[in-house]
């Protein structure tokens, strides 16, 4: 396996009117191709900033970020992203929301008009895999929060990105819906095998989904622990009650408590 995301000793400062904020300092992180990585850490430690760095939305002060062999200089053009807020466009039907990336990313962008029917079919099929069969022609406001988040996931995946960036995508959902969506994401990942970086506050979520869990220190953030999760695959929700799983969660919890103290 080759590295798909390689962050080498990166610093990041936000310049503001009342002085700069040092968000990341000496952050180093490696994610293999097809790996599911999770990032956890105390609030405000720079997890979202890390996502913006990897996708090239903000430039690093120092250090280097390499994605699939290419140094990141500007927005990366291939990453799918989803956030805590589904951010759907209320004037578009669900299926047209999912199709949005194809109107932007090459080579779909050029083919979009002529192959619209085909693309719509793809979008419907993807919606069906997340349990939204038949909801394509509805508007986002007709959907519940959990359903909107599924649409947001579909939008992040429709162009089959090599890299999926998720920033607390399930944080606003109730516990049952959240676990349901863990399984949706797990199945999509098992099938398509993209590289994922998932930012989360939920340690069980990280342990359930990820191959490796990276723990960040308080601001300025850097990776203080990278914990491989050697649980069997495929995982089902029952795994959350097994001693090995609970042990991993405990260990992460202790580490985060420790970095919050520091």
């Amino acid at each position: 396996m080759t590295a798909s995301v390689d962050i080498g000793n990166v610093d990041l400062t936000y310049k503001g009117v009342s002085g700069g904020v040092l968000a990341l300092k000496g952050t180093t992180l490696n994610v293999e191709r097809g790996e599911f990585a999770a990032v956890v850490g105390p609030s405000g430690c720079g997890k979202s900033s890390l996502m913006k760095l990897v996708t090239g939305l903000v430039p690093a002060d120092t250090g280097e970020i390499v994605i699939f062999g290419d140094k990141v200089r500007g927005p990366v053009k291939i990453a799918g992203m989803a956030f805590q807020n589904p951010n759907l466009l209320p004037w578009r039907k669900v299926v047209d929301n999912v199709l949005l990336p194809l109107e932007i990313v090459q080579p779909h962008r050029q083919r979009f008009r002529s192959h619209k029917a085909e693309y719509r079919e793809q979008a419907r099929a993807l919606l069906a895999t997340v349990g939204l069969d038949g909801f394509g022609e509805r508007y986002p406001w007709e959907l519940s929060g959990g359903m909107q988040q599924r649409v947001s996931l579909c939008r992040a995946l429709i162009h089959q990105p090599a890299l999926l960036m998720l920033d607390e995508p399930f944080a606003a959902l109730d516990a049952f819906t959240r676990e349901e969506l863990w399984c949706v994401l797990r199945d999509l990942w098992q099938k398509l095998r993209f590289t994922v970086i998932l930012v989360t506050h939920d340690l069980r979520e990280a342990a359930f989904l990820a191959d490796t869990i990276h723990v960040m220190s308080a601001r300025p953030g850097r990776i203080v622990m990278s914990k491989p999760v050697d649980l069997r695959r495929p995982r089902d929700l029952d795994i959350c009650f097994e001693p090995q799983f609970i042990e991993i969660v405990h260990e992460l919890r202790a580490k985060i408590a420790e970095v919050r103290q520091a």
């Binding site: 913006k52 939305l57 807020n85 951010n87 209320p90 932007i104």
Partner: protein, 256 residues
Amino acid sequence: MNTTLEKLSPWLFTIGIFVLWEAACRFFNIDTFILPSPSETFAAMAQHWWPLMRHSFVTLWTTMAGFALAVAFGIVLGLIVGWSRTIYRGLYPVMIGFNCIPKVAVVPILIMWFGIGEVPAILTAFLISFFPIVVNVATGLATMEPELEDVLRALGARKLDIMLKVGIPRTQPYLFGSLKVAITLAFVGTVVSETVGANAGLGYQIALAGSSFQMPLVFAALLLLAVEGIAMYAVFAYIEVYFTRWAFRSSMSAAA
């Protein structure tokens, strides 16, 4: 029963005001030169119906012309201002300053440039009504969710893509909301200009009738002006709901 009452209430209130007005005029025996009663006003309206019609029409079309200019110019300027922070910061003080200038002070200049006639009225309507459109369009662009922008930029979207796919559609409720405000302002602009210097229009009629103490005619013209304003407001309120139904249904609400 309650809903029919609610539907009728605008009419009931309007009639109620006229009744109160009429009663006050009769009870306190108010002189027609001070405040003509509604019956006198309507009588004047019937008597002078032809000039009033003609002037109403002039005011209506000059207002619509000025308003149309304001919409076109306001949308373009709003998009430019909302596009870039630098332009926003540069232009905003200038626009605020411009908006603070009473337009009645500009009318004599316009009359000097373009002569007495419809042109100053159109331009005054334009000058007074484009500002809320610019501000609302720019606000619609500027309040775009940064995360949504991130999603698109991480796909390699250029600024123009983001504007076309997200910025401009999401500006629509702000735009249509501002049109209701702008159209009433446009009427104010037209009438101000017509009052200062014109040879047609309701403003001209008001000034003319006022100078010969025909108070019932003044009030008749004022009433017609109010009717035109309400009618146009209703038209744009309807257009707003029609074009931005999604904004009324989803939580995103339009700016006034």
